[in-house]
């Protein structure tokens, strides 16, 4: 049985709204327009305008209203049309939501989900194409989830909505239409994926590739290519950026002795940098090669198709880095001057 990510998200929202009257949706175009990316399709008809709330284009305002409603005990799901626009509201996500339970010593919890597409999109230049996993992932008090498959999308979103803490739920626009096999178990309305646990998508013994969101699919394709060259790659789907499943990563690296991290975000202070630090701290003596990082290029996203391709990790990049980690021959490096 197959399900695409859009339907997985939509069904998760539908089931959680049906199960708990405190859950409501708000955001730009979530209601009458049926969602800019149709994730909320049909919800307005089913739950009415009190629970599927169309907002004006005022992210700081509606993010703040969502957080206030969560203080009071409702369970808002706030959609950002894309996470690029969440920068208008980042003060409410960090200062108003993430820190409240701590500052009040547990008196006021903030059960809210901020969700929407994140990461590199296609052909939209710099302001609409960026991964915010590292930004939100650095904040204690937030939980940050990055679904890859339809199973992830359903199980993680349902867990996020039921969770008593603020969750940043980073989807990927380019995955919405992708279909994945889905089990009966994952289709059950009680299906939830525990937060903070990575999933081994493919077992291997020669090199560990850690990725999240769309980069999991690239890593799996890279692993397929590597297998033909006799390299057995283990692919870890992080699912959660915070809490980060350091154990799963370190267990795998202790087995393979080699690590490649893959993300769309910028390299400096990125998710890969944190994973690298964790492995150096916990498993230094197990490493047989330097850790390799594959990231978005260290530049704003360009528009032209050829430049955009250079700015986003490609399967070839993952294959090359994995071979380097395994001390298999690769071509020489390229330096250009900007």
């Amino acid at each position: 049985k197959q399900m695409n990510v859009r339907d997985a998200l939509n069904s998760a929202l539908d089931e959680e709204m049906s199960a708990d009257s405190r859950v409501f949706m708000m955001g730009e175009e979530v209601g009458e327009y049926q969602g800019a990316y149709k994730i909320t399709k049909g919800l307005l008809d089913k739950y009415g305008p009190d629970r599927v709330v169309d907002t004006p284009i005022t992210e700081a305002g509606f993010a703040g209203i969502g957080v206030g409603a969560a203080y009071y005990g409702l369970r808002p799901v706030v959609e950002f049309m894309t996470f690029n626009f969440s920068m208008q509201a980042i003060d409410h996500i960090i200062n108003s939501a993430a820190k409240m339970n701590y500052m009040s010593s547990g008196e006021i919890s903030v059960p809210i989900v901020f969700r929407g597409p994140n990461g590199a999109a296609a052909g939209v230049s710099s302001q609409h194409s960026q991964c915010y996993a590292a930004w939100f992932g650095s904040i204690p008090g937030l939980k940050v989830l990055t679904p890859y498959s339809s199973e992830d999308a359903r199980g993680l979103l349902k867990s996020a909505i039921r969770d008593p803490d603020p969750v940043v739920f980073l989807e990927n626009e380019l995955l919405y239409g992708e279909s994945f096999p889905i089990t009966e178990e994952a289709l059950d309305s009680s299906f939830c994926i525990p937060l903070g646990r990575a999933k081994i998508e493919r077992e291997g013994k020669d090199v560990t590739i850690v990725a999240y969101s769309k980069m999991v699919s690239y890593s799996l394709m890279a692993a397929e290519i590597l297998s033909k060259e006799g390299i057995s790659a283990e692919v870890i789907n992080l699912r959660s950026i915070r809490p980060l499943d350091r154990d799963a990563i370190n267990v795998s690296v202790r087995k393979t002795n080699r690590l490649v991290t893959v993300e769309e975000g910028f390299p400096q202070h990125g998710v890969g940098a944190e994973i690298c630090a964790s492995v150096v701290e916990e498993s230094f003596e197990y490493l047989d090669a330097p850790v390799e990082r594959i990231c978005g290029a260290d530049v704003p996203m360009p528009y032209a198709a050829n430049l955009e391709r250079l700015a986003v990790p490609q399967i070839d990049d993952i294959v090359r880095a994995s071979k380097r980690a395994c001390y298999r021959s690769t071509s020489g490096s390229m330096t250009v001057s900007g």
Binding site: Y71, H92, S96, E107, P243
Partner: protein, 362 residues
């Protein structure tokens, strides 16, 4: 002392797109005596906080409320603890007004475990959810959308209650305020935006920061009232009026014309951007406690000596609260890691040296 009284407000209300409420305020002797007692307690608490700060027993930022007391007591007289209040960092007396105790306030100010936020919030982060007080927020203006969110939830739950979202004249220029008001009006949320206009955002006079300092008119489509915020009875009248209005129609703005005697915070002597004459002039002519004292004496509700006795009792109460607060222990070091999450799933968290100090979050 239960005979009803009718008292005229100091000056008429000014209205924006709305008929103003009557200047005649119904009250009782016991309400007026309570106003006196509560405001005198607030005043004394803030003056004591000033001393504790100077004695280095309070750290960081500390914003005092003396001068503005009538806003808190007048508002509380008009509403119930099922209504919500949210404010910025000048929150000690709002907390007290919501039923918080001086002991918990002083204990929090001194960063001790018995404080209202167990020593983790400090001066700017007091809360009392069980009586509808949602803080205590440090980022200027952020509390207004948050307050409209509380009102959203009240309406969502079909409760006949409202939220008072308080902000200063400085915050009145924040963009998110207008965003929140727009949505509150579109969705007819029971939100009352209370602008405590103390005329200076830190050291910037209102007219230097606002092209239109008539804050009660700044809502454009939303009605507003300008209120003498130094007159507790006028505040009460305006808040009763606003609550009734908001429950039926949606948001309304109340501009409370008030004054802070202290500087913006403890690092501000409050004398570089305003004259001493201005401050002493307000004290002489508009002080909210003196106004009530005069009222009590004119109506023979108590004698001068009796009021002195009340003040003497308050001084003792404050001193005792401070002594009790000082006995509260500092938070346990393990508290560093508590309440990062409501549900931490046992995930690891780290101290400065992660090999030396780490914790499993509950």
């Amino acid at each position: 002392t239960s005979t009803a009284l009718t008292i005229e407000t100091s000056i008429p209300f000014a209205g924006h797109m709305i008929d103003t409420p009557s200047r005649s305020v119904s009250t009782t002797p016991s309400e007026i005596l309570t106003f006196f007692r509560d405001m005198a307690t607030m005043r004394r608490m803030e003056l004591a906080a000033d001393s504790l700060y100077k004695a280095k027993l309070i750290r960081g930022f500390c914003h005092l409320y003396d001068g503005q007391e009538a806003v808190s007591v007048g508002m509380e007289a008009a509403i119930t603890k099922k209504d919500c209040i949210i404010t910025a960092y000048r929150d000690h007396c709002i907390y007290l007004g919501r039923g918080g105790t001086m002991i918990k306030a002083f204990t929090e100010l001194m960063g001790r475990s018995g404080g209202c936020s167990k020593g983790k919030g400090g001066s700017m982060h007091f809360y009392k959810k069980d009586s509808g007080f949602y803080g205590g927020h440090g980022i200027v203006g952020a509390q207004v959308p948050l307050g409209c969110g509380l009102a959203f939830a009240q309406k969502y739950n079909k409760e006949d209650t409202v939220t008072f979202a308080m902000y200063g004249d400085g915050a009145a220029n924040q963009g998110q305020l207008f965003e929140a008001l727009n949505m509150a009006a579109l969705w007819e949320l029971p939100a009352i935006l209370v602008c405590e206009n103390n005329h200076y955002g830190m050291g910037t006079a209102e007219w230097r920061a606002a092209k239109s300092p008539a804050y009660y008119k700044r809502g454009d489509y939303a009605p507003g009232l300008k209120v003498d915020g130094m007159d507790a009875l006028a505040v009460k009248q305006a808040c009763m009026f606003a609550k009734e209005y908001a429950l039926k129609n949606g948001p309304i703005i109340l501009e409370m014309d008030t004054y802070r005697y202290h500087g913006h915070s403890m690092s501000d002597p409050g004398s570089t951007y305003r004259t001493r004459d201005e401050v002493s002039g307000v004290r002489q002519e508009r002080d909210p406690i003196e106004r009530i004292r005069k009222l009590i004496l004119t109506h023979d509700l108590a004698t001068t000596a009796e009021l002195k006795e009340v003040e003497k009792g308050i001084r003792k109460e404050v001193d005792e609260a401070i002594a009790t607060a000082k006995e509260s222990p500092m938070p346990e070091p393990s508290e560093l890691f508590s309440h990062v999450y409501s549900k931490g799933y046992g995930v690891e968290s780290f101290g400065a040296d992660r090999k030396e100090l780490k914790a499993s979050l509950l």
